[in-house]
Protein backbone atom coordinates (compact mmCIF):
# COMPACT_ATOMS: atom_id res chain seq x y z
CA UNK A 1 0.00 0.00 0.00
CA UNK A 2 1.22 3.46 -0.85
CA UNK A 3 1.34 5.56 2.26
CA UNK A 4 -0.45 8.87 2.46
CA UNK A 5 1.82 10.12 5.20
CA UNK A 6 3.94 12.38 3.03
CA UNK A 7 1.33 14.20 1.07
CA UNK A 8 -1.78 14.30 3.12
CA UNK A 9 -1.30 13.80 6.83
CA UNK A 10 -0.06 17.33 7.02
CA UNK A 11 -1.19 19.67 9.73
CA UNK A 12 -3.36 21.65 7.32
CA UNK A 13 -5.38 18.66 6.15
CA UNK A 14 -9.07 19.50 5.85
CA UNK A 15 -10.25 15.97 6.52
CA UNK A 16 -8.40 13.79 9.01
CA UNK A 17 -9.54 10.26 9.75
CA UNK A 18 -7.74 8.05 12.26
CA UNK A 19 -8.63 4.45 12.98
CA UNK A 20 -12.26 5.05 12.07
CA UNK A 21 -14.60 2.17 12.81
CA UNK A 22 -18.28 1.51 12.51
CA UNK A 23 -19.71 -1.75 13.70
CA UNK A 24 -23.47 -2.16 13.27
CA UNK A 25 -25.64 -3.83 15.90
CA UNK A 26 -25.81 -6.88 13.60
CA UNK A 27 -22.07 -7.24 14.13
CA UNK A 28 -21.24 -6.11 10.61
CA UNK A 29 -17.95 -4.19 10.60
CA UNK A 30 -18.69 -1.71 7.81
CA UNK A 31 -15.68 0.51 8.43
CA UNK A 32 -12.66 -1.18 9.91
CA UNK A 33 -9.85 1.12 10.98
CA UNK A 34 -9.79 3.64 8.15
CA UNK A 35 -6.99 6.23 8.20
CA UNK A 36 -6.87 9.00 5.67
CA UNK A 37 -6.17 12.68 5.30
CA UNK A 38 -7.32 15.07 2.63
CA UNK A 39 -5.49 18.32 2.07
CA UNK A 40 -7.27 21.62 1.51
CA UNK A 41 -8.17 22.13 -2.13
CA UNK A 42 -7.75 18.48 -3.01
CA UNK A 43 -10.19 16.18 -4.81
CA UNK A 44 -10.07 12.88 -3.01
CA UNK A 45 -11.63 9.90 -4.75
CA UNK A 46 -12.94 7.15 -2.49
CA UNK A 47 -13.27 4.09 -4.59
CA UNK A 48 -14.81 0.75 -3.86
CA UNK A 49 -17.58 -1.66 -4.77
CA UNK A 50 -21.07 -1.58 -3.26
CA UNK A 51 -20.89 -2.56 0.39
CA UNK A 52 -17.20 -1.78 0.76
CA UNK A 53 -17.83 0.91 3.41
CA UNK A 54 -17.68 4.07 1.27
CA UNK A 55 -21.09 5.42 2.13
CA UNK A 56 -20.76 4.54 5.82
CA UNK A 57 -17.50 6.51 5.93
CA UNK A 58 -19.16 9.49 4.23
CA UNK A 59 -22.12 9.33 6.58
CA UNK A 60 -19.74 9.46 9.55
CA UNK A 61 -17.79 12.36 8.07
CA UNK A 62 -21.01 14.27 7.40
CA UNK A 63 -22.20 13.67 11.02
CA UNK A 64 -25.14 11.48 9.96
CA UNK A 65 -23.73 8.41 11.66
CA UNK A 66 -21.65 8.06 14.80
CA UNK A 67 -18.43 6.08 14.62
CA UNK A 68 -18.01 3.19 17.03
CA UNK A 69 -14.25 3.72 17.12
CA UNK A 70 -11.52 6.08 16.01
CA UNK A 71 -11.64 9.80 15.31
CA UNK A 72 -12.44 12.05 12.40
CA UNK A 73 -12.35 15.76 11.89
CA UNK A 74 -13.56 17.89 9.02
CA UNK A 75 -12.52 21.51 8.52
CA UNK A 76 -10.80 21.33 11.90
CA UNK A 77 -13.88 20.18 13.81
CA UNK A 78 -14.47 16.81 15.42
CA UNK A 79 -17.37 15.04 13.70
CA UNK A 80 -18.82 13.84 17.01
CA UNK A 81 -18.03 16.59 19.51
CA UNK A 82 -18.36 19.54 17.12
CA UNK A 83 -20.96 18.18 14.73
CA UNK A 84 -22.75 21.50 14.38
CA UNK A 85 -19.58 23.31 13.26
CA UNK A 86 -18.84 20.47 10.83
CA UNK A 87 -22.31 20.85 9.31
CA UNK A 88 -21.72 24.57 8.78
CA UNK A 89 -18.52 23.84 6.88
CA UNK A 90 -19.69 21.10 4.56
CA UNK A 91 -21.93 20.62 1.56
CA UNK A 92 -23.43 17.19 1.11
CA UNK A 93 -24.94 15.43 -1.87
CA UNK A 94 -25.72 11.86 -0.93
CA UNK A 95 -26.63 8.90 -3.12
CA UNK A 96 -29.77 9.17 -5.22
CA UNK A 97 -30.50 12.88 -4.90
CA UNK A 98 -33.13 13.08 -2.17
CA UNK A 99 -35.34 15.92 -3.36
CA UNK A 100 -38.97 16.61 -2.55
CA UNK A 101 -40.93 15.96 -5.74
CA UNK A 102 -43.64 18.38 -4.64
CA UNK A 103 -41.26 21.34 -4.62
CA UNK A 104 -39.71 23.35 -7.42
CA UNK A 105 -35.98 23.69 -7.89
CA UNK A 106 -36.07 27.28 -6.72
CA UNK A 107 -38.09 26.44 -3.59
CA UNK A 108 -35.65 23.71 -2.66
CA UNK A 109 -32.68 26.04 -3.00
CA UNK A 110 -34.40 28.68 -0.90
CA UNK A 111 -35.28 26.10 1.76
CA UNK A 112 -31.67 24.98 1.84
CA UNK A 113 -30.66 28.62 2.24
CA UNK A 114 -32.98 28.97 5.24
CA UNK A 115 -31.52 25.82 6.81
CA UNK A 116 -28.07 27.35 6.51
CA UNK A 117 -29.15 30.66 8.02
CA UNK A 118 -29.31 32.79 4.90
CA UNK A 119 -31.78 35.66 5.09
CA UNK A 120 -34.73 35.47 2.71
CA UNK A 121 -33.43 38.02 0.19
CA UNK A 122 -29.94 36.54 0.33
CA UNK A 123 -31.37 33.09 -0.16
CA UNK A 124 -33.34 34.15 -3.25
CA UNK A 125 -30.26 35.79 -4.75
CA UNK A 126 -28.11 32.74 -4.09
CA UNK A 127 -30.77 30.47 -5.59
CA UNK A 128 -30.73 32.55 -8.79
CA UNK A 129 -26.91 32.38 -8.93
CA UNK A 130 -26.85 28.62 -8.47
CA UNK A 131 -29.67 27.92 -10.91
CA UNK A 132 -27.65 29.83 -13.48
CA UNK A 133 -24.50 27.95 -12.55
CA UNK A 134 -26.04 24.49 -12.94
CA UNK A 135 -28.01 25.52 -16.02
CA UNK A 136 -31.45 25.04 -14.51
CA UNK A 137 -32.87 28.54 -14.94
CA UNK A 138 -35.51 27.38 -17.41
CA UNK A 139 -36.65 24.58 -15.09
CA UNK A 140 -36.39 26.57 -11.85
CA UNK A 141 -40.10 26.90 -11.24
CA UNK A 142 -41.08 23.42 -12.33
CA UNK A 143 -41.90 20.68 -9.83
CA UNK A 144 -39.09 18.20 -9.25
CA UNK A 145 -41.12 15.30 -10.57
CA UNK A 146 -40.63 16.76 -14.06
CA UNK A 147 -36.80 16.77 -13.78
CA UNK A 148 -34.56 14.19 -15.46
CA UNK A 149 -31.93 12.28 -13.48
CA UNK A 150 -29.18 14.63 -14.67
CA UNK A 151 -31.19 17.73 -13.73
CA UNK A 152 -31.89 16.33 -10.28
CA UNK A 153 -28.18 15.64 -9.75
CA UNK A 154 -27.25 19.16 -10.84
CA UNK A 155 -29.86 20.61 -8.48
CA UNK A 156 -28.58 18.37 -5.69
CA UNK A 157 -25.10 19.75 -6.28
CA UNK A 158 -26.44 23.31 -6.29
CA UNK A 159 -28.18 22.67 -2.95
CA UNK A 160 -24.92 21.45 -1.47
CA UNK A 161 -23.30 24.73 -2.53
CA UNK A 162 -25.89 27.17 -1.17
CA UNK A 163 -23.75 28.22 1.82
CA UNK A 164 -20.41 28.14 -0.05
CA UNK A 165 -19.00 25.18 1.89
CA UNK A 166 -15.28 24.61 2.41
CA UNK A 167 -15.65 20.89 1.87
CA UNK A 168 -18.00 19.10 -0.45
CA UNK A 169 -18.99 15.47 0.09
CA UNK A 170 -20.42 13.71 -2.92
CA UNK A 171 -21.60 10.14 -2.60
CA UNK A 172 -21.63 8.51 -6.02
CA UNK A 173 -22.71 11.73 -7.74
CA UNK A 174 -22.93 10.31 -11.24
CA UNK A 175 -24.40 6.87 -10.58
CA UNK A 176 -27.17 6.25 -13.08
CA UNK A 177 -26.37 9.28 -15.24
CA UNK A 178 -25.92 9.18 -18.99
CA UNK A 179 -22.41 10.00 -20.33
CA UNK A 180 -23.33 13.57 -21.30
CA UNK A 181 -24.77 14.40 -17.86
CA UNK A 182 -21.79 12.72 -16.21
CA UNK A 183 -19.33 14.74 -18.23
CA UNK A 184 -21.15 18.01 -17.49
CA UNK A 185 -21.11 17.23 -13.75
CA UNK A 186 -17.37 16.47 -13.91
CA UNK A 187 -16.77 19.85 -15.55
CA UNK A 188 -18.68 21.57 -12.78
CA UNK A 189 -16.75 19.69 -10.09
CA UNK A 190 -13.42 20.66 -11.64
CA UNK A 191 -14.56 24.28 -11.72
CA UNK A 192 -15.56 24.12 -8.05
CA UNK A 193 -12.23 22.62 -7.14
CA UNK A 194 -10.41 25.34 -9.09
CA UNK A 195 -12.28 27.84 -6.91
CA UNK A 196 -10.75 26.19 -3.83
CA UNK A 197 -13.41 23.74 -2.65
CA UNK A 198 -12.07 20.51 -1.19
CA UNK A 199 -14.02 17.59 -2.63
CA UNK A 200 -14.44 14.14 -1.12
CA UNK A 201 -16.00 11.95 -3.75
CA UNK A 202 -17.08 8.34 -3.51
CA UNK A 203 -17.50 6.42 -6.68
CA UNK A 204 -17.73 2.97 -8.14
CA UNK A 205 -16.48 4.29 -11.45
CA UNK A 206 -12.76 3.97 -11.92
CA UNK A 207 -12.90 6.36 -14.83
CA UNK A 208 -14.48 8.99 -12.62
CA UNK A 209 -11.73 8.69 -10.03
CA UNK A 210 -9.07 8.85 -12.74
CA UNK A 211 -10.67 11.88 -14.37
CA UNK A 212 -11.29 13.91 -11.24
CA UNK A 213 -9.25 12.85 -8.25
CA UNK A 214 -5.87 14.21 -7.19
CA UNK A 215 -5.58 11.21 -4.92
CA UNK A 216 -7.55 8.02 -4.65
CA UNK A 217 -8.21 5.74 -1.70
CA UNK A 218 -9.40 2.23 -2.47
CA UNK A 219 -11.63 0.70 0.19
CA UNK A 220 -12.58 -2.93 0.35
CA UNK A 221 -14.32 -4.74 3.21
CA UNK A 222 -14.13 -1.59 5.32
CA UNK A 223 -10.35 -1.16 5.01
CA UNK A 224 -8.29 1.09 2.81
CA UNK A 225 -6.24 -1.27 0.70
CA UNK A 226 -4.40 1.29 -1.43
CA UNK A 227 -4.02 5.03 -1.58
CA UNK A 228 -2.14 7.49 -3.72
CA UNK A 229 -2.31 9.54 -6.89
CA UNK A 230 -3.73 7.65 -9.87
CA UNK A 231 -0.15 7.51 -11.23
CA UNK A 232 1.25 6.13 -7.97
CA UNK A 233 -1.48 3.54 -7.83
CA UNK A 234 -0.81 2.64 -11.43
CA UNK A 235 2.71 1.69 -10.49
CA UNK A 236 1.31 -0.94 -8.09
CA UNK A 237 0.34 -2.96 -11.13
CA UNK A 238 3.86 -2.95 -12.50
CA UNK A 239 5.80 -1.15 -15.19
CA UNK A 240 3.91 0.76 -17.85
CA UNK A 241 3.60 -0.94 -21.20
CA UNK A 242 4.46 0.22 -24.70
CA UNK A 243 2.26 -1.18 -27.39
CA UNK A 244 4.03 -1.53 -30.73
CA UNK A 245 2.04 -2.28 -33.86
CA UNK A 246 4.00 -3.51 -36.87
CA UNK A 247 3.05 -3.03 -40.51
CA UNK A 248 4.11 -6.59 -41.37
CA UNK A 249 2.67 -9.10 -38.92
CA UNK A 250 5.20 -11.70 -40.06
CA UNK A 251 8.03 -9.61 -38.54
CA UNK A 252 6.67 -9.92 -35.00
CA UNK A 253 8.91 -12.88 -34.05
CA UNK A 254 12.11 -11.08 -35.12
CA UNK A 255 10.95 -7.85 -33.47
CA UNK A 256 10.25 -9.67 -30.21
CA UNK A 257 13.81 -11.00 -30.07
CA UNK A 258 15.30 -7.60 -30.87
CA UNK A 259 13.19 -5.71 -28.34
CA UNK A 260 13.92 -8.06 -25.45
CA UNK A 261 16.88 -5.81 -24.52
CA UNK A 262 14.41 -2.99 -23.68
CA UNK A 263 12.13 -4.97 -21.37
CA UNK A 264 9.74 -7.90 -21.03
CA UNK A 265 8.05 -8.46 -24.39
CA UNK A 266 4.72 -10.18 -24.90
CA UNK A 267 2.67 -10.86 -28.01
CA UNK A 268 -0.57 -9.03 -28.73
CA UNK A 269 -3.24 -9.62 -31.33
CA UNK A 270 -2.55 -8.89 -35.02
CA UNK A 271 1.20 -8.97 -34.75
CA UNK A 272 1.42 -6.36 -32.04
CA UNK A 273 3.80 -6.47 -29.10
CA UNK A 274 3.77 -5.08 -25.57
CA UNK A 275 7.07 -4.14 -23.96
CA UNK A 276 6.99 -3.58 -20.20
CA UNK A 277 9.66 -1.08 -19.24
CA UNK A 278 10.26 1.23 -16.32
CA UNK A 279 11.25 3.94 -18.81
CA UNK A 280 7.68 4.29 -20.01
CA UNK A 281 7.40 6.83 -22.80
CA UNK A 282 11.16 7.47 -22.71
CA UNK A 283 11.65 4.00 -24.23
CA UNK A 284 9.78 4.93 -27.42
CA UNK A 285 12.79 6.41 -29.23
CA UNK A 286 15.23 3.51 -28.53
CA UNK A 287 12.58 0.95 -29.46
CA UNK A 288 11.75 2.66 -32.74
CA UNK A 289 15.50 3.05 -33.46
CA UNK A 290 16.11 -0.69 -32.85
CA UNK A 291 13.28 -1.66 -35.19
CA UNK A 292 14.33 0.89 -37.79
CA UNK A 293 17.90 -0.40 -37.83
CA UNK A 294 16.51 -3.90 -38.40
CA UNK A 295 14.33 -2.48 -41.20
CA UNK A 296 11.10 -3.50 -39.45
CA UNK A 297 8.39 -0.96 -40.23
CA UNK A 298 6.36 0.39 -37.32
CA UNK A 299 2.71 1.33 -37.75
CA UNK A 300 2.10 2.80 -34.29
CA UNK A 301 3.56 3.03 -30.78
CA UNK A 302 1.36 3.79 -27.76
CA UNK A 303 2.10 4.14 -24.06
CA UNK A 304 -0.30 2.02 -22.01
CA UNK A 305 -0.56 3.30 -18.45
CA UNK A 306 -2.18 0.85 -16.02
CA UNK A 307 -5.75 1.88 -15.25
CA UNK A 308 -7.33 2.04 -11.81
CA UNK A 309 -9.27 -0.99 -12.95
CA UNK A 310 -5.98 -2.88 -13.11
CA UNK A 311 -5.02 -1.47 -9.71
CA UNK A 312 -8.30 -2.47 -8.17
CA UNK A 313 -7.99 -6.03 -9.34
CA UNK A 314 -4.35 -6.13 -8.26
CA UNK A 315 -5.06 -4.97 -4.69
CA UNK A 316 -8.44 -6.55 -4.01
CA UNK A 317 -8.49 -9.59 -6.24
CA UNK A 318 -11.85 -8.61 -7.72
CA UNK A 319 -13.36 -5.99 -9.97
CA UNK A 320 -14.72 -2.69 -8.64
CA UNK A 321 -18.17 -3.28 -10.09
CA UNK A 322 -18.60 -6.53 -8.15
CA UNK A 323 -20.68 -6.08 -5.01
CA UNK A 324 -19.22 -7.13 -1.70
CA UNK A 325 -21.17 -10.09 -0.30
CA UNK A 326 -22.69 -8.23 2.62
CA UNK A 327 -23.79 -4.70 1.94
CA UNK A 328 -22.12 -2.43 4.40
CA UNK A 329 -22.80 0.90 2.82
Amino acid sequence: MISNQDSAASADATIIVEGLERVYSSGLRAVDGVDLAVAAGEIYGFLGPNGAGKSTTVRILTTLLRPTGGHASVAGFDVVKQASQVRRSIGVALQEAALDPLMTGRELLELQGALHGLRRAESKLRADELLERVDLVAAADRLLNTYSGGMRRRLDLAMALVHRPMVLFLDEPTTGLDPVSRSSLWTELRKLNDEGTTIFLTTQYLEEAEQLADRVGIIDHGKIVAEGTPQELGRLVGEPGLYVKLIEQSESGRARDLLAVHGAVSDREAGGLTIRTSLGARAIAPIVRTLDEAQIEVDAVEVEEPTLDDVFIAVTGHRADEDVTEDAS
Binding site: R59, T62, T63, L64, L65, R66, S84, R87, R88, I90, V92, L94, Q95, E96, A98, L99, D100, L102, M103, E107, E110, L111, Q112, A114, L115, H116, G117, R119, R120, L143, M159
Partner: protein
Amino acid sequence: MSTRGLAYTGGVGFALWRRSLLELARVRGGLLPTTVAPLIFLLGSLGQFGRLDQLVGFPTTSYIAWLVPLSCLQAAGFAGGATGANLARDIEAGWFDRLLSSPAPRPLLILGPVMAAMTRCIVPVTVIFIAGLLLGPGLTGGAYGLLMLYLAAISFSIVAALWGITLALRAKSQQVGPLIQNGVFIAVFLSTAYTPLPFLKGWLAVAAPYNPVTYVLQMGRQATVSGIEPSWAHTWPGLLALAAMMLFFGLLALRQLRRIDL
Protein backbone atom coordinates in the same frame (compact mmCIF):
# COMPACT_ATOMS: atom_id res chain seq x y z
CA MET B 1 -31.35 34.13 22.28
CA SER B 2 -29.95 36.93 20.10
CA THR B 3 -32.03 38.69 17.45
CA ARG B 4 -30.08 36.87 14.76
CA GLY B 5 -30.66 33.55 16.53
CA LEU B 6 -34.39 34.28 16.73
CA ALA B 7 -34.51 35.24 13.07
CA TYR B 8 -32.70 32.03 12.15
CA THR B 9 -35.00 29.89 14.30
CA GLY B 10 -38.05 31.59 12.83
CA GLY B 11 -36.70 31.27 9.29
CA VAL B 12 -36.02 27.54 9.59
CA GLY B 13 -39.32 26.88 11.39
CA PHE B 14 -41.25 28.82 8.74
CA ALA B 15 -39.43 27.11 5.85
CA LEU B 16 -40.11 23.63 7.21
CA TRP B 17 -43.72 24.52 8.10
CA ARG B 18 -44.26 25.77 4.56
CA ARG B 19 -42.67 22.69 3.05
CA SER B 20 -44.85 20.39 5.17
CA LEU B 21 -47.95 22.19 3.99
CA LEU B 22 -47.07 22.04 0.29
CA GLU B 23 -48.65 18.61 0.13
CA LEU B 24 -52.01 20.19 0.88
CA ALA B 25 -51.61 22.74 -1.87
CA ARG B 26 -50.16 20.41 -4.48
CA VAL B 27 -51.72 17.03 -3.90
CA ARG B 28 -55.35 17.10 -4.95
CA GLY B 29 -57.44 15.62 -2.17
CA GLY B 30 -54.49 15.62 0.26
CA LEU B 31 -56.82 16.39 3.16
CA LEU B 32 -59.57 13.99 2.16
CA PRO B 33 -58.47 10.97 4.25
CA THR B 34 -58.20 12.96 7.48
CA THR B 35 -61.53 14.68 6.79
CA VAL B 36 -63.63 11.90 5.35
CA ALA B 37 -62.77 9.17 7.87
CA PRO B 38 -63.92 11.12 10.98
CA LEU B 39 -66.97 12.33 9.08
CA ILE B 40 -67.93 8.74 8.32
CA PHE B 41 -67.28 7.79 11.97
CA LEU B 42 -69.56 10.66 12.96
CA LEU B 43 -72.41 9.56 10.73
CA GLY B 44 -71.90 5.86 11.46
CA SER B 45 -71.80 6.36 15.24
CA LEU B 46 -74.86 8.57 15.06
CA GLY B 47 -76.76 5.76 13.36
CA GLN B 48 -75.42 3.12 15.78
CA PHE B 49 -75.78 4.91 19.10
CA GLY B 50 -78.08 7.84 18.28
CA ARG B 51 -80.68 6.92 20.85
CA LEU B 52 -78.28 6.92 23.79
CA ASP B 53 -79.29 10.53 24.43
CA GLN B 54 -82.63 9.22 25.65
CA LEU B 55 -80.97 7.56 28.65
CA VAL B 56 -81.67 9.21 31.93
CA GLY B 57 -78.65 11.24 33.03
CA PHE B 58 -77.15 11.64 29.56
CA PRO B 59 -75.74 15.17 29.60
CA THR B 60 -77.41 16.31 26.37
CA THR B 61 -80.60 15.68 24.47
CA SER B 62 -78.73 15.56 21.17
CA TYR B 63 -76.36 12.65 20.65
CA ILE B 64 -74.71 14.40 17.73
CA ALA B 65 -73.75 17.19 20.11
CA TRP B 66 -71.86 14.51 22.05
CA LEU B 67 -70.20 13.15 18.92
CA VAL B 68 -69.12 16.30 17.09
CA PRO B 69 -66.26 17.15 19.47
CA LEU B 70 -65.16 13.51 19.34
CA SER B 71 -65.01 13.58 15.55
CA CYS B 72 -63.16 16.89 15.63
CA LEU B 73 -60.60 15.37 17.97
CA GLN B 74 -60.28 12.27 15.77
CA ALA B 75 -59.73 14.44 12.70
CA ALA B 76 -57.09 16.46 14.53
CA GLY B 77 -55.44 13.26 15.74
CA PHE B 78 -55.35 11.74 12.28
CA ALA B 79 -53.97 14.98 10.80
CA GLY B 80 -51.28 15.03 13.48
CA GLY B 81 -50.50 11.35 13.01
CA ALA B 82 -50.03 11.95 9.28
CA THR B 83 -47.00 14.09 10.23
CA GLY B 84 -45.27 10.98 11.54
CA ALA B 85 -46.13 9.00 8.42
CA ASN B 86 -44.78 11.82 6.25
CA LEU B 87 -41.59 11.94 8.30
CA ALA B 88 -41.12 8.19 7.85
CA ARG B 89 -41.49 8.74 4.09
CA ASP B 90 -38.88 11.53 4.24
CA ILE B 91 -36.49 9.27 6.14
CA GLU B 92 -36.91 6.46 3.62
CA ALA B 93 -36.46 8.84 0.68
CA GLY B 94 -33.28 10.32 2.16
CA TRP B 95 -34.77 13.80 2.52
CA PHE B 96 -34.33 13.76 6.29
CA ASP B 97 -30.58 13.19 5.78
CA ARG B 98 -30.48 16.56 4.07
CA LEU B 99 -32.06 18.19 7.10
CA LEU B 100 -29.81 16.34 9.53
CA SER B 101 -26.67 17.34 7.64
CA SER B 102 -27.65 21.01 7.87
CA PRO B 103 -26.65 23.10 10.90
CA ALA B 104 -30.29 23.68 11.87
CA PRO B 105 -30.80 22.81 15.56
CA ARG B 106 -32.40 19.35 15.80
CA PRO B 107 -35.57 20.44 17.66
CA LEU B 108 -36.39 22.77 14.76
CA LEU B 109 -36.47 19.81 12.39
CA ILE B 110 -39.57 18.53 14.18
CA LEU B 111 -41.01 21.91 15.13
CA GLY B 112 -41.78 22.79 11.49
CA PRO B 113 -43.79 19.60 10.83
CA VAL B 114 -45.57 19.94 14.19
CA MET B 115 -46.59 23.50 13.30
CA ALA B 116 -47.80 22.18 9.96
CA ALA B 117 -49.88 19.52 11.76
CA MET B 118 -51.55 22.27 13.80
CA THR B 119 -52.37 24.17 10.63
CA ARG B 120 -53.38 21.10 8.68
CA CYS B 121 -55.92 19.97 11.31
CA ILE B 122 -57.91 23.20 11.15
CA VAL B 123 -59.48 22.27 7.80
CA PRO B 124 -60.98 18.86 8.76
CA VAL B 125 -61.95 20.10 12.23
CA THR B 126 -63.83 23.02 10.70
CA VAL B 127 -65.48 20.86 8.04
CA ILE B 128 -66.66 18.37 10.68
CA PHE B 129 -67.80 21.09 13.04
CA ILE B 130 -69.85 22.77 10.32
CA ALA B 131 -71.26 19.41 9.16
CA GLY B 132 -72.18 18.65 12.78
CA LEU B 133 -73.89 22.01 13.23
CA LEU B 134 -75.88 21.41 10.07
CA LEU B 135 -77.03 18.10 11.52
CA GLY B 136 -78.55 19.68 14.55
CA PRO B 137 -76.59 20.57 17.67
CA GLY B 138 -76.34 24.21 18.50
CA LEU B 139 -73.26 25.98 19.72
CA THR B 140 -74.40 25.79 23.33
CA GLY B 141 -71.03 26.79 24.70
CA GLY B 142 -70.80 30.04 22.76
CA ALA B 143 -67.48 31.61 21.83
CA TYR B 144 -65.70 30.22 24.90
CA GLY B 145 -66.88 26.70 24.09
CA LEU B 146 -65.83 27.04 20.46
CA LEU B 147 -62.42 28.33 21.50
CA MET B 148 -61.98 25.38 23.86
CA LEU B 149 -62.99 22.93 21.12
CA TYR B 150 -60.40 24.35 18.70
CA LEU B 151 -57.76 24.56 21.42
CA ALA B 152 -58.40 20.92 22.36
CA ALA B 153 -58.34 19.77 18.74
CA ILE B 154 -55.23 21.72 17.71
CA SER B 155 -53.35 20.70 20.86
CA PHE B 156 -54.37 17.08 20.31
CA SER B 157 -52.95 17.29 16.76
CA ILE B 158 -49.64 18.32 18.34
CA VAL B 159 -49.73 15.32 20.68
CA ALA B 160 -50.52 12.98 17.77
CA ALA B 161 -47.79 14.56 15.65
CA LEU B 162 -45.20 14.09 18.42
CA TRP B 163 -46.33 10.47 18.90
CA GLY B 164 -46.08 9.90 15.13
CA ILE B 165 -42.66 11.56 14.94
CA THR B 166 -41.36 9.42 17.80
CA LEU B 167 -42.46 6.22 16.07
CA ALA B 168 -41.18 7.36 12.66
CA LEU B 169 -37.74 8.21 14.08
CA ARG B 170 -37.66 4.86 15.82
CA ALA B 171 -38.86 2.71 12.91
CA LYS B 172 -37.45 4.78 9.99
CA SER B 173 -40.01 3.12 7.78
CA GLN B 174 -43.39 4.01 6.32
CA GLN B 175 -44.65 0.70 7.61
CA VAL B 176 -45.12 2.48 10.92
CA GLY B 177 -48.00 4.57 9.46
CA PRO B 178 -50.87 2.25 10.51
CA LEU B 179 -49.38 1.91 14.01
CA ILE B 180 -49.36 5.69 14.41
CA GLN B 181 -53.01 6.02 13.39
CA ASN B 182 -54.02 2.98 15.47
CA GLY B 183 -52.42 4.62 18.50
CA VAL B 184 -54.52 7.75 17.96
CA PHE B 185 -57.65 5.67 17.41
CA ILE B 186 -57.12 3.57 20.53
CA ALA B 187 -56.33 6.58 22.71
CA VAL B 188 -59.60 8.18 21.68
CA PHE B 189 -61.59 4.94 21.85
CA LEU B 190 -60.50 4.16 25.43
CA SER B 191 -62.03 7.36 26.71
CA THR B 192 -65.53 8.76 27.09
CA ALA B 193 -65.74 8.78 23.30
CA TYR B 194 -69.30 7.46 22.98
CA THR B 195 -70.80 7.70 26.45
CA PRO B 196 -70.11 9.66 29.65
CA LEU B 197 -68.13 8.07 32.48
CA PRO B 198 -71.15 6.94 34.57
CA PHE B 199 -72.44 4.95 31.59
CA LEU B 200 -69.21 2.99 31.05
CA LYS B 201 -68.93 -0.56 32.36
CA GLY B 202 -66.21 -3.04 33.29
CA TRP B 203 -62.59 -2.48 32.24
CA LEU B 204 -63.40 0.59 30.17
CA ALA B 205 -65.03 2.25 33.20
CA VAL B 206 -61.75 1.64 35.04
CA ALA B 207 -59.47 2.75 32.20
CA ALA B 208 -61.29 5.84 30.92
CA PRO B 209 -60.74 8.07 34.00
CA TYR B 210 -56.99 7.46 33.67
CA ASN B 211 -57.00 8.27 29.97
CA PRO B 212 -56.04 11.93 29.47
CA VAL B 213 -58.11 12.02 26.28
CA THR B 214 -61.25 11.80 28.47
CA TYR B 215 -60.45 15.25 29.87
CA VAL B 216 -59.50 16.67 26.48
CA LEU B 217 -62.88 15.55 25.16
CA GLN B 218 -64.61 17.13 28.13
CA MET B 219 -62.81 20.38 27.36
CA GLY B 220 -63.94 20.25 23.71
CA ARG B 221 -67.50 19.24 24.57
CA GLN B 222 -68.06 22.57 26.28
CA ALA B 223 -68.81 23.82 22.76
CA THR B 224 -71.84 21.65 22.01
CA VAL B 225 -72.95 19.62 25.04
CA SER B 226 -75.46 21.55 27.11
CA GLY B 227 -74.76 19.43 30.19
CA ILE B 228 -71.08 20.42 30.16
CA GLU B 229 -71.37 24.12 30.60
CA PRO B 230 -68.37 26.33 29.77
CA SER B 231 -66.33 26.70 32.93
CA TRP B 232 -62.80 26.60 34.23
CA ALA B 233 -63.68 23.36 36.06
CA HIS B 234 -64.33 21.69 32.69
CA THR B 235 -61.29 23.30 31.11
CA TRP B 236 -58.29 22.91 33.38
CA PRO B 237 -58.21 19.07 33.51
CA GLY B 238 -58.12 19.07 29.69
CA LEU B 239 -55.39 21.68 29.57
CA LEU B 240 -53.37 19.75 32.12
CA ALA B 241 -53.86 16.49 30.21
CA LEU B 242 -52.76 18.13 26.95
CA ALA B 243 -49.73 19.75 28.57
CA ALA B 244 -48.71 16.43 30.12
CA MET B 245 -49.11 14.55 26.84
CA MET B 246 -47.23 17.22 24.87
CA LEU B 247 -44.41 17.16 27.39
CA PHE B 248 -44.24 13.37 27.47
CA PHE B 249 -44.34 12.80 23.71
CA GLY B 250 -42.23 15.90 23.05
CA LEU B 251 -39.45 14.54 25.27
CA LEU B 252 -39.77 11.12 23.66
CA ALA B 253 -39.51 12.63 20.17
CA LEU B 254 -36.47 14.73 21.13
CA ARG B 255 -34.81 11.73 22.75
CA GLN B 256 -35.39 9.68 19.64
CA LEU B 257 -34.07 12.50 17.47
CA ARG B 258 -30.88 12.69 19.53
CA ARG B 259 -30.39 8.95 19.22
CA ILE B 260 -31.06 8.75 15.53
CA ASP B 261 -28.30 7.03 13.63
CA LEU B 262 -29.79 6.84 10.19
